[in-house]
């Protein structure tokens, strides 16, 4: 399982890539592997929506199961990845790259400190 060093993680198996005050959020390699073939990404929130950490902003439909998308931090959604609408399998193939899910402008940058570092996430996976 790939756990890139430059990211932060959540117990819900999402990652956060910080670019300035914007967080790029997606699911981890472990999450995509556990979900199996992903068919749809369904956002119930859209750009401009203000959300709190832990809010559900959509869902990921795989063949066998469905999983919710949480916002790992509070802030305003800047963009959802519309490129994956027609090709959700990108999330399986490249979860840390083209398969990112959404971008959010942080309202409280200290929330980042509450996320798991790569070592802690690796321990969570029992790796």
């Amino acid at each position: 399982m790939k756990i890139p060093e430059n990211l932060r993680y959540t117990k819900e198996h999402e990652y956060v890539l910080l670019e300035g005050n914007t967080a790029i959020v997606g699911v981890t390699d472990y999450a995509q592997s556990e979900l199996g073939d992903i068919i749809y990404i369904d956002f119930t929130s859209s750009a401009g929506d203000v959300v709190k950490a832990g809010d559900i902003i959509g869902s990921i439909e795989a063949v066998k199961t469905v999983s919710e998308i949480f916002s790992p931090v509070s802030g305003k959604i800047a963009e959802v990845n519309s490129d994956i609408n027609d090709k959700a399998s990108v999330v399986n193939e490249d979860p840390y790259g083209a398969g990112w899910l959404f971008k959010i402008e942080l309202s409280d940058s200290s929330e980042i400190d509450g996320l798991l570092n790569p070592t802690a996430y690796s321990e969570l996976l029992g790796a």
């Binding site: 592997s33 199996g36 073939d37 068919i39 749809y40 369904d42 869902s59 439909e61 063949v63 066998k64 469905v66 399986n92």
Partner: protein, 358 residues
């Protein structure tokens, strides 16, 4: 957790293993969609050794199986297989099963999750000269399915596989082992075999390896339970636990063709006849849904009226659409009807279509 004889092989293939019916089973290897397509386009191998096999011996075996099951066993002859079901006195389905006519005895193939329950039910119903022998633990079962399954297996046997008609079987040898070669399957593929063999680990692994060597030129692949489900759903094959259970009788499940009400009384027959005379309250229908996958248990609506629930739902890798089966109240079950499904709080449009979907 129990393991089949192929457990080490699954791990070597990198399978994702899950608990199913008390067994550690492969749900997928490389991915459900690719595995699904491998079966439709060439050939795939499923370990379904968790299924139960029960032999029925004795002078009254025919009468017993005839009473126990809904299809007409008197129509079977040696070497033939019959799809059937078992019902409670009230018509509710105990299980669906295959009945093999093996000459002087029958073999019943039952769902893994129902083995204990089914055998208890059989024993409660036994009469006369009947011996029930559970051979589940000593039996491995591989399903080799897809258009290249015959060419793969033919390399390993003297039995002329092209001569075994659909829903027939022969005792024979594959890769030197005594097996039952059955022209049956749960994928909808017309070229399909199920191989019953010894559950000895060394023998089972040797059989698997022989099949994979023979199928290498066809890019033969191991297939998990995930694709088994999507494959069966494209042909609207019912799945016990989803599409059938003890609250559903076979006519509601669309299984009138295996419910021979004119064969004489059998377990559940009176209740089923009565339900038929009163008119069925609901029927299993196929549906297609856009942009969402409907899942088991979700409510089905016609306008504001709740008219049923989803029994099975999955994406169809071959159609690129999402398909499913639902129980819908009589009157709302017409082909072409628009229905709505409550997918996690949102009403999603769906249409009732004919099955099989492919």
């Amino acid at each position: 957790m129990k393991k089949t004889a192929f457990n080490a092989i699954h791990k070597n293939f990198g399978a994702k293993l899950v608990e199913f019916a008390g067994y550690e089973m492969p749900v997928q290897y490389e991915g459900i969609i690719n595995e699904h397509k491998a079966v439709r386009e060439s050939v795939g191998v499923f370990d379904v050794s968790h299924m139960g096999e029960v032999q029925i011996h004795g002078k009254d075996a025919l009468a017993f199986v005839q009473k126990l099951t809904t299809n007409d066993v008197s129509q079977l002859s040696k070497g033939r297989v019959q799809y059937s079901s078992m019902c409670l006195p009230d018509g509710g389905m105990v299980d669906d099963l295959l009945v093999y006519h093996c000459g002087d005895y029958f073999m019943l193939v039952i769902n893994a999750s129902n083995i204990e329950k089914d055998i208890k039910w059989m024993k409660e119903n036994v009469f006369g000269d009947v011996t029930i022998k559970d051979i589940s633990d000593e039996t491995s079962l591989l399903a080799v399915q897809g258009r290249n399954s015959l060419a793969t297996l033919q390399k390993l046997t003297e039995t002329d596989l092209s001569k075994i008609e659909y829903y027939n079987f022969e005792f024979g040898k594959i890769a030197g082992q005594n097996v039952i070669i059955s022209h049956t399957g749960y994928t909808g593929e017309k070229v399909c075999f199920e191989i019953y063999s010894s559950s000895d680990v060394a023998k089972s692994e040797a059989l698997w390896n022989a099949i994979f060597s023979a199928g290498a030129e066809f890019n033969i692949k191991p297939i998990g339970l995930g694709a088994r489900d999507t494959l069966r759903l494209e042909y609207a094959f019912r799945l016990y636990g989803n599409d059938m259970d003890e609250t559903i009788h076979p006519l509601e499940a669309g299984l009138a063709w295996i419910t021979k009400l004119d064969k004489g009384t059998f377990n559940g027959s009176q209740a089923i006849v009565k339900a038929k005379e009163e008119g069925l309250k609901r029927k299993l229908v196929g549906f297609v849904v856009e942009d969402k996958i409907a899942r088991h248990g979700q409510d089905v609506y016609a306008g504001d009226i709740k008219v049923g629930y989803v029994a099975s739902g999955a994406p169809s890798p071959m159609l690129g659409k999402n398909i499913g089966l639902a129980y819908v109240a009589t009157g709302y079950n017409k082909l072409g009807s628009d229905i709505e499904i409550d997918v996690r709080g949102r009403r999603i449009k769906a249409k009732i279509v004919k099955t099989p979907f492919l």
